[in-house]
Amino acid sequence: MQATKFQVKVYTRAGDIELEKLIPVFHEWIRAKKISDELLIDVADYAHVPQGPGVVLIGHQSDYYLDVADNRPGLLYSRKRGFDGDFQAGIDDAFRRALNACRLLEEESSLGLEFATDEVLFRVQDRLAAPNEDATYDAYKPALEQAAGAFFGHAPSLERLGSEREPFAVRISTGAGGTVADALARH
């Protein structure tokens, strides 16, 4: 069985972030259907939870978090439903949607946000199909290298993170220094 609950987190350049400012922005995205091929539903505010999911744009196909876990703010894309297409396309799609959301956030002048592209976190929230173990890593490595190379233009270096209890996670050091727009333009 193929996992599809992929998560991609792209970190912001500056450390501090005023989460409350995301709330009106995400509400406006829903109103304006900013992510036109997805159904956006509501905004969940967890700004009160330290190192938490921050502010979440809840959708049907996926959620978009301005997540502050590990005290490292970033845009976390999280796919919740199945994906029509092969494994590589599914991973590419998750990267693209994450980067696209970053680009949209960078365009919001009220936020003054900028995202870095040198490091990306990839996770799979599916302990049945993708337990956090070597076999999963071996299965995902080529596809992640391919996706990262295609978006960021360099051969990345990968590191599996966390313990067996935690979701399967990989830190991808991309070797890139460009903007999210560059990355999107590349692939």
Binding site: M1, K5, I23, P24, H27, I30, R31, L39, I41, D42, A44, D45, Y46, A47, H48, V49, P50, Q51, G52, P53, V56, I58, H60, D63, Y65, A69, K80, R81, Q125, D126, R127, L128, R165, E166, P167
Partner: protein, 749 residues
């Protein structure tokens, strides 16, 4: 592995596994259109799978109501409930007890199926939000593999049995109530005598009279541990409840010996199933039955019922091993080191409680709005595994308590919390607020209770250390509507969401409820002082606390102060901030906390608070009850004109609910409501009482004609209130007749 079912194999107990398989089968049948909407809704509710705001597929985006176009098309999971719409899962945690492993699995589910947040509820449950129904069966299997069932977490059933989080380790308990709470949970789960209720039934245990932890007075059935002449038993109370009209439970038995507790409970359940209201949900809780027949008659009914019960060995079998639920500490007892850090000491002041067992402590992890993340849950589980063992409790104040912490490890535990950003100080103080989900996710929410408590928390936390101890000790609780899920009646300062019309627009407000008592099992409820715009609530808190500090006598408690000065004085204090500025002056009043959309009540949906779906009309009738209640308060405060206007409004609200029930379009204004009421309910004789005929309807018609309520003196106000009371009774009865008639017609088809 291809499925959780296969992966978990026989770690899923047969019984639970079978139930989940059945539910999964029903999901498949529903998708094929082979199960009726209402039946499916009841099925999923009984398994803890609730609806959530916007699940009718409609949402106001701030500029008007929009359709959420889910891919499932017409498929529904209940009347007007879209299949794909996210829902909530309520996970029943008997007496709030979690093992390390359970906390780990819950955290995994929060990440994989929800938004990585676990929420502790006011009845010691855990809730996960934004769940897709098709993921529920596997979630249930994973829960079952660690001994958790969501069965009867919702629906007209026995809800989670709660108990003090200190049961077994408390310094004031008569004895440990845990084995009793545990055994009765198992005994009643799926018991035939508890399947036919008109409404939910909540049971709570308390180890002593004086402390609040059990909150038995607002439960359908409460049991307080007592020892008499060396014999264990319980003072049993019945018929308490919150909601629009809160009621204190009445004493059913001053001393019920331990071996009689189960049969007594069973007898109460049978009387409730037999005689409790079934048609009108608004009056179906057992509190209404107790009120109707009177406690003495109720006692007789229960005693008679008790005689008819066939003895069951489970009534007493658990008494053979009252230590079955004992917890074993993983570390040796020890003293708290004297040279501890200042940070630790500040935390320990409110968050560390000595246990009855020397050298052990219970540590409270104060959660912001009852929330914690999956990663935090996992890390807490690690801490617990190392230091406290399987001794975690979800608390009614939406925190987590870790028991059996050795004093010697207390600082290590604290350091662990600091690393997780979970070492917030001041558990059980003014910064430790409780809130229901409110408009964030609840379909019935009127105001943003979480938005409000989040804001108050933020403001108060910064000044926490400067607060006068008397203020710091106060408790605040918020509910998003009159259903009172946030238990605000039992707070010093409570808030209930209401909306008010101002200059043609709706403005979110909270009714302020003052002087409720948390201790002695929530011995008395607060009184409504008045409604204040949401955005002025922080100011209101400031005014209330300043007024209290400036005028209290000696060490007078807030309850005593409230009892002495009365609502009237507080009304004066709040008067200057009760009126919002116009929209043009300050539009921020026209949206709610944490929600920039222009405020609307258009998103309020049909509630699923229990069992089957609650029709809109019942909310109208409830709202009318609340208005009448407020009117009564006003009369007590000597405000005759406000009281009679309120009573008239209550009648109009009830009339509107009935008119709408007949699917007649009606506007908000009284003229339109009364005109339609006359045409559709009075002239058709639908509202007629079998005996009094049109009498009650004329109360409304006449009052609307002569507008007597506008210039009421005390005497007129009294009469208006009496008439409104009768009108509301008649409205409930009318609604009941209409539903019965519809049911008969359907059966005849």
């Amino acid at each position: 592995m291809t499925s959780w079912k296969e992966q978990l194999g026989d770690r899923i107990p047969d019984q639970l596994g079978g139930e989940v398989d059945l539910f999964e089968g029903q999901i498949a049948l529903k998708k094929q259109g082979k199960i009726d909407d209402k039946i499916f809704a009841e099925t999923r509710l009984r398994r803890g799978v609730y609806g959530q705001r916007y699940d009718n597929g409609l949402r106001d985006d701030g500029t008007g109501q929009k359709t959420l176009t889910f891919p499932c098309g017409d498929l529904t999971k209940g009347p007007d409930t879209v299949w794909d719409a996210p829902g909530m899962m309520r996970i029943k945690i008997p007496f709030g007890k979690l093992t390390v492993e359970q906390l780990e699995v819950l955290s995994e589910l929060a990440e994989e199926n929800s938004d990585s947040i676990l929420h502790v509820t006011t009845r010691q449950d855990i809730q996960l939000h934004f769940i897709h129904i098709e993921e529920a069966p596997d979630m249930m299997r994973r829960l079952a593999s660690v001994g958790i069932t969501t069965r009867e977490a919702c629906g007209n059933s026995v809800r989670n049995v709660t108990a003090c989080e200190y049961a077994g380790v408390c310094t004031t308990q008569a004895f440990d109530v845990t084995p009793y709470a545990n055994a009765i949970t198992q005994y009643l789960l799926g018991h035939p005598d508890v399947q036919d209720f008109g409404r939910k039934f909540k049971i709570a245990f308390s180890g002593c009279e004086d402390n609040p932890c059990g909150l038995v007075t607002f439960h359908d059935l409460g049991a307080v541990a007592q020892v008499r002449d060396g014999k264990r038993g319980f003072r049993v109370v019945v018929g308490g409840g919150l909601g629009a009209v809160p009621v204190q439970a009445k004493v059913l038995a001053e001393f019920c010996p331990e071996e009689e507790l189960f049969p007594l409970t069973q007898a109460v359940a049978r009387v409730f199933a037999r005689l409790g209201e079934k048609q009108s949900r608004a009056r179906a809780r057992i509190k209404f039955l107790v009120q109707k027949v009177g406690i003495d008659e109720f006692k007789k009914l229960v005693a008679d019922e008790r005689e008819t019960l066939r003895p069951d060995e489970r009534w007493t079998a658990f008494l053979d091993d009252l230590h079955a639920t004992d917890e074993t500490p993983v570390r040796e007892a020890g003293a708290v080191p004297s040279g501890a850090s200042a940070g630790f000491k500040a935390w320990a002041e409110h968050n560390l409680k000595p246990q009855a067992q020397e050298g052990y402590y219970s540590a409270i992890v104060k959660l912001p709005l009852g929330d914690f993340t999956a990663a935090q849950g996992r890390a807490l589980a690690r801490l617990a595994r190392e230091l406290t063992g399987d001794s975690i409790r979800c608390t009614v104040e939406q925190n987590l308590t870790f028991r059996w912490l050795s004093g010697a490890d207390a600082e290590t535990f604290y350091e662990g919390l600091v690393a997780l950003n979970m070492a917030a100080t001041g558990a059980g103080t003014i910064t430790d607020m409780t809130s229901c989900p409110g408009t964030d996710t609840c379909k019935l929410g009127i105001s943003a209770s979480r938005g409000l408590t989040g804001e108050l928390r933020k403001r108060l936390t910064v000044i926490e250390d400067e607060l006068d101890p008397a203020i710091r000790a106060l408790r605040m609780k918020a509910s998003g509507c009159f259903n009172s899920c946030g238990q605000h009646h039992a707070a010093d300062i409570g808030f209930t969401g209401v909306s008010r019309q101002v200059g043609g627009r709706k403005v979110p407000h909270f009714n302020i409820v003052l002087g409720g008592q948390w201790t002695e099992n929530a011995k008395s409820y607060g009184l409504v002082v008045g409604a204040v715009p949401s955005k002025n609530i922080p100011k209101a808190v400031e005014l209330i606390t300043e007024y209290y500090l400036a005028n209290r006598e000696g060490a007078e408690s807030f309850q005593a102060f409230m009892a002495r000065v009365g609502k009237k004085e507080f009304r004066k204090v709040l008067a200057p901030i009760q009126k919002p500025p116009s929209y043009e002056e300050d539009p921020s009043y026209y949206s709610d906390w944490g929600n920039p959309r222009e405020y609307t009540i258009g998103d309020i949906g049909v509630g699923e608070c229990a069992g089957e779906i609650v029709p809109f009309v019942e909310f109208g009738l409830q709202e009318a009850e609340q208005q009448l209640h407020d009117a009564q308060d006003a009369l007590e405060a000597g405000q005759a004109a406000i009281a009679s206007a309120g009573a008239f409004k209550a009648m109009v609200t009830a009339a509107k609910a009935l008119v709408r029930h007949l699917e007649v379009q009606v506007k908000d204004d009284a003229d339109d409501v009364v005109a339609n009421f006359k045409t559709h309910l009075h002239d058709t004789a639908l509202f007629h009482d079998p005996f009094a005929k049109g009498k009650f309807a004329t109360y409304l018609l006449k009052m609307h004609d002569d507008q007597s309520f506008k210039s009421a003196n005390d005497e007129i106000a009294h009469r208006t209130l009496d008439e409104a009371q009768l009108f509301l009774e008649a409205a409930h009865a009318c609604y009941q007749r209409l539903t019965e008639a519809a049911a008969t017609a359907a059966a005849a088809e």
